[in-house]
């Protein structure tokens, strides 16, 4: 166990300053050096040579929000596993030398937690949250029906009768 020292994290700050400084200086150089011949056509949003139709700040598909919400859920769940993953081996070692079942307790708890994650994943899957469009949803349902008719996911590995 090493002692925590804020100095260990000083490089993060220095690197941040270097990176920001580099990027900002590049943008400044581009402003100073490059030619400036602005015309109205040149400053239009690019739409393959036609005059742009309407604004780009339009409404967009709600599917992107669905992805974001699902991401938040699963990312949090994965983050919960990381502290356990770091500690698991030392917990098992502590179990060997001590009298308390640290490792087994952690194992059972984590298995329960991962079980919940899997159930959540299956639920979202069944509800069609991962199907990108209505057409994709229809294809997924058709595929599932086809699989069921053939006799399950592993049917392709079975020998034909």
């Amino acid at each position: 166990m090493t002692e925590f020292s804020l100095l260990d994290y000083a490089p993060v700050l220095v690197m941040f300053l270097v990176a920001i400084g580099f990027a900002a200086s590049q943008i400044l150089v581009a402003q100073l050096v490059g030619p400036r011949k602005r015309t109205a056509t040149k400053l239009m949003p690019y739409e393959c040579g036609k005059d742009p139709v309407g604004s780009a700040r339009d409404r967009f598909s709600v599917k992107f929000y669905m992805v974001a919400v699902a991401f938040l859920l699963f990312d949090l769940e994965i983050l919960f596993v990381i502290p356990f993953a770091v500690a698991f081996k030392s917990l098992l070692a502590a179990e060997q030398s001590g009298t308390v079942y640290y490792g087994t307790i952690a194992f059972v708890t984590m298995m329960f937690f991962l079980g919940t994650v899997v159930v959540g994943l299956l639920y979202e899957w069944k509800k069609g949250a991962f199907d990108w469009s209505i057409q994709a949803r229809a294809e997924a349902i058709a595929e599932a029906a086809e699989l069921k008719r053939k006799g399950g996911v592993f049917s392709r590995f079975r020998k034909a009768a």
Partner: protein, 373 residues
């Protein structure tokens, strides 16, 4: 004066380290771009750039000057502040992980004899990295995912339909594959019991002989990580945010001159970062199995023993070769595979990669439990 120097010494050392790493990585990145054009040329039966300098070796510099002297356009309808901010965010997020790259084993040197004013007192090792953060992996994952902001902001602020589509697609794609990436890393963390990159390399050195490289016990995790890495860096076959043929370059359609170059640079530095992560987590980092054993056996211990300059140099070259292999794989795949359709991409990420990664975590937890009790 002496006191001030002593206080400033850690920061001076850090700055020197960062400048070395920064310069080195930028050179490698510049020549990755050239190598990509050359290799793509060969794959497609062309020669590739060969006019600027011998074998086109000065091409990166020619490109740089071209970028500098091009007109820096800002579209009329764009949101100016965000439009300028986006490339800075993307590039900063790409550069930040540089400090944790583990370039090689530490060199044993008694610095007290070399530096004046007793600055080197107590320093017996020069590490070949800038910092070994306790949270190394989390740091890299967290910072690289900030890169999504750069792309999303660029897409939104340009106020062009192609850019908006590119930005949206990119955000959705990157967050989807980040899940699989985060889950595939957990297997390695379980085996190593630490998040620091140096600690993970140590764990691989001290592992049983059959798992000296974590690619053996974590092969599934490796494959998932590799695929997710391609998606995270927006490379073929997951280059939908750019998709020249449908979105005309996507999120950077409206960017020109050096601002475009910054996005370009960020993409290639990100490629380098995920290659470093891949090598460190699954291929032993700078560790070449058997090299430490050989280094102990020969009569040349003073030159090649563990902790000497020779050992560090060989390991460092090994590290770079592994990274170049990954960079070559990127280019090879780009020359070979077609692009996914967007619903295929989302299907693959959510319905295949994430379940496989979760399954890998569960199996690894069970195996670690059974083998350590």
């Amino acid at each position: 004066m002496e006191e001030a120097l002593k206080t400033a010494f850690p920061f001076i050392a850090i700055s020197i380290g960062i400048l070395l790493v920064f310069g080195g990585v930028m050179m490698i990145v510049a020549y990755t771009v050239l190598a990509e054009r050359k290799v793509l040329g060969w794959i497609q039966g062309r020669i590739g750039p060969n006019r600027v300098g011998p074998w086109g070796l000065l091409q990166p510099f020619a490109d740089l000057f071209k970028f500098i002297f091009k007109e820096d356009l800002v579209p009329d309808k764009s949101t100016k502040f965000v439009y300028y901010l986006a490339p800075i965010v993307a590039l900063t997020a790409a550069f930040m992980p540089m400090i944790v790259y583990p370039f090689g084993p530490p060199i044993n040197v008694d610095l007290a004899a070399w530096l004046p004013y007793g600055l080197g007192e107590g320093i017996t090792q020069i590490p070949l990295r800038v910092a070994d953060l306790d949270v190394g992996i989390l740091y890299v994952l967290a910072i690289t995912s900030v890169g999504v902001y750069g792309i999303a902001l660029a897409g939104w602020s340009s106020n062009s339909k192609y850019s908006l589509m590119g930005g949206l697609r990119s955000s959705a794609q990157m967050i989807s594959y980040e899940l699989a990436m985060g889950a595939s890393v957990i297997g390695v963390v379980l085996l190593a019991g630490t998040l620091s990159l140096g600690g993970i390399i140590d764990a691989q050195i001290h592992a049983p002989w059959w798992s000296r490289w974590f690619i053996v016990p974590q092969f599934v995790g490796f494959v998932v990580f590799l695929i997710a890495a391609f998606a995270e860096t927006n490379r073929v076959p997951f280059d939908l945010p750019e998709a020249e043929t449908e979105l005309v370059a996507g999120f950077h359609t409206e960017y020109s001159a050096l601002k475009f170059a910054l996005f370009f640079m960020a993409e290639y530095v990100n490629m380098f970062t995920v290659s470093v992560m891949c090598v460190t987590l699954f291929l032993g980092g700078w560790y070449i199995p058997g090299l430490d054993w050989v280094a102990r056996q020969t009569d040349l211990v003073w030159l090649f023993g563990v902790g000497t300059v020779g050992y560090a140099l060989i390991s460092h070259v090994g590290f770079l070769l592994k990274i170049f292999a990954f960079l070559f794989l990127y280019i090879w795949v780009r020359g070979t595979l077609p692009r996914f359709r967007f619903d295929q991409l989302m299907n693959f990420g959510w319905k295949f990669l994430l379940p496989v990664a979760l399954g890998n975590v569960i199996v690894t937890v069970i195996l670690v439990f059974l083998m350590n009790r």
